[in-house]
């Protein structure tokens, strides 16, 4: 640990808090269709897109219509992406002549990018052509982000509107998000990255003769344009196998800081957008504070844990911080902060090898994901996931004081609570059942790389990460069955590919549909004025209650599993 490391954490949180209301306001303006700076340029494009899609902002949908459009659009895009990956051998921009990955890997990958997970059972530079990365995978980085944000905005409308049935028009929300938010920020961000050394080229890989006379091949590609949306959209799928550890993706401490900010900015800002749209920014800040409290604790724990030696280092006779699987330019501070950022958000980009983190240092990222990715979480999905927890907290408080629970003046009924329970508990169930399947059957065994409790941790991490749409990994999991067939880096454990794909689909769409249904139910309610017995939801007490609800419901479910893996390792010096 050092002063610079702590200072970076403080500055990061300060910067995030400072931009939250600015971006939050901009998002509100965009989704309310107000005039913004870019309107003169982009307005005609926006209207052109509506014409092509045969829709217009005044044609709003109820929650079922909204959900149906999301599902149809996602299903169609899944098929298109799968085909594109499978056909990459016949498509252009493939200077290395890469052939199609196997069907099961292609399916896992297509689902992975569609669901904003970006779990990668493949290595980018050895498996995917420039065209696949750019016109297939990176497109989903935009689209899955836009879908998540659009749904979040629809859910916010459900909370904000009174005695209404409609929650917005999906196409309008998705197009406004892409056009006014994602694309402009990415254009600027990608060019900034290039200015710092991140590559952006369609040229082939370059063979060089090194100083010692050896050869080294520099894999290249259109990296910067993909890198920025990968963070901004909390996607996380690296162009290269080692993700944002690769200097061509993330070249310095400065780019690292900017990328971390890009990951959290939209999830953080949406809390403010929520506050503004429901008519009280304080409500948004309460949600933000609950997220920030958890995040700060997570960062501090990882940083402290990684600053110590691991049992392996002790045995090797090394003294100092755990630099295994970390690059020098990031060191312990920037690697720990990145690990916390990428797992509280459902991003999953990594700049260090998560698997080589210490016991506690690896347990915290897992715990972050196990909350259901509601501590900032994925773009959009983090907010609507957290709002389900808000309702749960209100409900628990209502039980304690014996009053009908209400939030923002709306009474929370049995139907809403049933939906909340589905939305918050279904994914933990998927994680536990799928992990048990992978651990308890012979099909899961070939995926495990490390021996002892670490092998269990790998498996638990894999299904936690996929079901919560994070995408980071203890990358030994199925990582070393390569090369396979024609594709170095692709491999064929069909069981893991299919189970993982199922986890990602459940994890994406079950909470999303639950949240939309809740929003539909809430939109129709009338608002009663606050009385003397109304529990306030914009106070520190409520923040504590909310953090407690997340810890209670999400985390306690996983304590036994965490104990078996990373906690055991954190408590012993034994080697396995």
């Amino acid at each position: 640990m050092n002063v610079a490391g702590w200072l970076q954490i403080v500055v990061f949180i300060a910067a995030l808090t400072a931009v939250t209301p600015i971006v939050g306001r901009y998002l509100m303006q965009v989704f309310e269709g107000e005039r913004v700076l870019l309107t003169p340029v982009l307005g005609p494009v926006e209207r052109g897109a509506y014409r092509l899609l045969g829709t217009s902002p005044d044609r709003e949908q109820d929650w079922k219509g909204y959900a149906r459009t999301v599902l149809v659009f996602s299903g169609l895009f899944l098929a298109a992406l799968y085909l594109l990956i499978r056909l990459q051998g016949s498509l252009p921009l493939n200077p290395e002549g890469l052939t199609a990955p196997p069907w099961d890997l292609s399916f896992n990958t297509a689902v992975s990018f569609l669901t904003n997970t970006n779990w990668q059972f493949y290595a980018g530079e050895t498996t995917m052509s420039y065209f696949t990365q750019m016109a297939g995978l990176a497109v989903q980085n935009f689209v899955s982000a836009a879908v998540g944000i659009a749904v979040a905005v629809a859910v916010i409308r459900g909370f904000a509107r009174r005695e209404a049935t409609r929650v917005g028009n999906f196409w309008v929300d998705a197009i406004r998000c892409t056009l006014y938010v994602l694309l402009p920020l990415c254009l600027v961000g990608a060019l900034f990255l290039v200015s710092q050394g991140v590559i952006q080229t369609l040229g082939a890989y370059v063979d060089v003769t090194t100083l010692t006379g050896g050869t080294q091949t520099l894999a290249r590609g259109p990296v910067a344009s993909q890198e920025f949306i990968k963070e901004l959209g909390t996607n996380g799928g690296g162009f290269f196998n080692v993700n944002a550890a690769m200097p061509f993706e993330n070249s310095s401490g400065l780019t690292n800081f900017v990328l971390m900010l890009a990951i959290l900015i939209i999830p953080a800002a949406l809390t403010n957008t929520f506050g503004r749209m429901v008519g009280s920014q304080r409500q948004g800040w309460a949600v933000y504070t609950a997220m920030a409290v958890w995040f700060i604790a997570a960062v501090a724990l990882v940083y402290i844990a990684e600053s110590d030696s691991t049992p392996a280092m002790h045995a090797a006779g090394l003294h100092g911080a755990n630099m295994e699987g970390k690059d020098v330019r990031f060191g312990i501070g920037s690697s720990s902060l990145f690990a916390a950022v990428t797992t509280v958000a459902s991003c999953g980009a990594v700049n260090a090898a998560m698997e080589s983190f210490s016991g506690l240092g690896g347990a915290v990222p897992m715990a972050n994901m196990m909350t259901g990715e509601v501590i900032f979480g994925g773009v959009g999905s983090g907010l609507y996931g957290m709002l389900l927890f808000v309702l749960l907290a209100v409900f628990l408080a209502g039980l304690m004081v014996g009053r009908t629970p209400e939030y923002l003046g709306k009474k929370i009924g049995p139907r809403e609570i049933r939906l909340v329970v589905i939305g918050t508990l279904f994914v933990p169930l998927v994680v536990l059942v799928f992990t048990a399947l992978a651990i308890g059957t012979k099909w899961g065994a070939p995926s495990i790389y490390d021996s002892g409790p670490q092998g269990f941790s790998e498996t638990l991490y894999a299904y936690t990460s996929q079901a919560n749409n994070n995408g980071s990994a203890f990358a030994g999991y199925t990582g070393f069955v390569q090369p396979n067939g024609d594709n170095v880096g692709a491999f064929g454990i069909t069981f893991a590919n299919l189970l993982g794909a199922a986890a990602m689909l459940f994890g994406r769409f079950v909470p999303m549909l639950a949240a939309l249904a809740v929003a539909g139910a809430l939109a129709g309610k009338r608002v009663s004025p606050p009385g003397p017995g109304t529990m306030r939801t914009d106070t520190p007490t409520f923040v504590v209650l909310l953090v407690g609800a997340v810890a209670l419901v999400a985390l306690l479910t996983f304590v036994p599993a965490l104990l078996l893996g990373p906690v055991v390792q954190g408590l012993t010096n034994q080697l396995f």
Partner: protein, 189 residues
């Protein structure tokens, strides 16, 4: 449903063209025109030949006249990158780290306990272009000896090739091994 399907089909094309072609090609075009060196991988030329990239570490093992890069799980591969992926309690990891530390201590003639951690642990990227300043300072004695340079001159070169923290607090300082070794070659040419 039918209406959703038609709109979705159009949207699939629209998003693919705008986000998958226009956007990345625009970034590529602007980058290639305004910052071609960086956009193409910060390649370094010597005597008209590309010898590497400023950002990508190389393997210097067995060459005592050069500063040594960090251990790499992928043998410094820049076209098939991967992590070491051994957990904190793995015996194999302890063995690897111990062997790396012993080799380093012998080469630099220091005690095992004084080996800097970055010299005995694999990097994340496998092509970490940097070593820590402490690591460089230890290696400087050997390099100066082998090359017949003064230690002060080598230390000056280390300083010149040290990349500091971003804005003074982002990340950690590191010494770029490849550019430092190139400078040394230049010095003793």
């Amino acid at each position: 449903m039918r209406k959703d399907l038609i709109a979705s089909a159009v949207a699939v094309l629209l998003f693919t063209v705008v986000c998958g072609l226009i956007y990345p090609l625009a970034v590529t075009g602007i980058a290639q025109v305004t910052m071609p060196g960086k956009a193409n991988g910060s390649q370094i030329e010597r005597d008209g030949k590309v010898v590497g990239s400023e950002l990508i570490g190389q393997d210097f093992q067995g060459r005592r006249r050069y500063f040594q890069s960090r251990p790499s799980a992928s043998d410094d591969s820049a076209d098939a990158t991967f992590f070491n992926n051994l957990g904190p309690n793995q015996r194999d990891l302890a063995t690897q780290q111990h062997q790396a530390a012993v080799a380093y201590a012998r080469r630099e003639r220091i005690a095992l306990a004084d080996v800097p951690v970055d010299a005995a642990t694999t990097s994340a990227s496998g092509v970490d272009p940097h070593i820590s300043p402490e690591n460089a300072e230890i290696q400087a004695r050997r390099v100066a000896r082998v090359r017949g340079l003064s230690l002060d001159r080598v230390n000056d070169l280390i300083d010149e090739h040290t990349d500091g923290r971003g804005l003074g607090f982002m990340g950690e300082p590191g010494v770029n091994v490849l550019t430092l070794n190139l400078a040394l070659d230049e010095e003793t040419r």
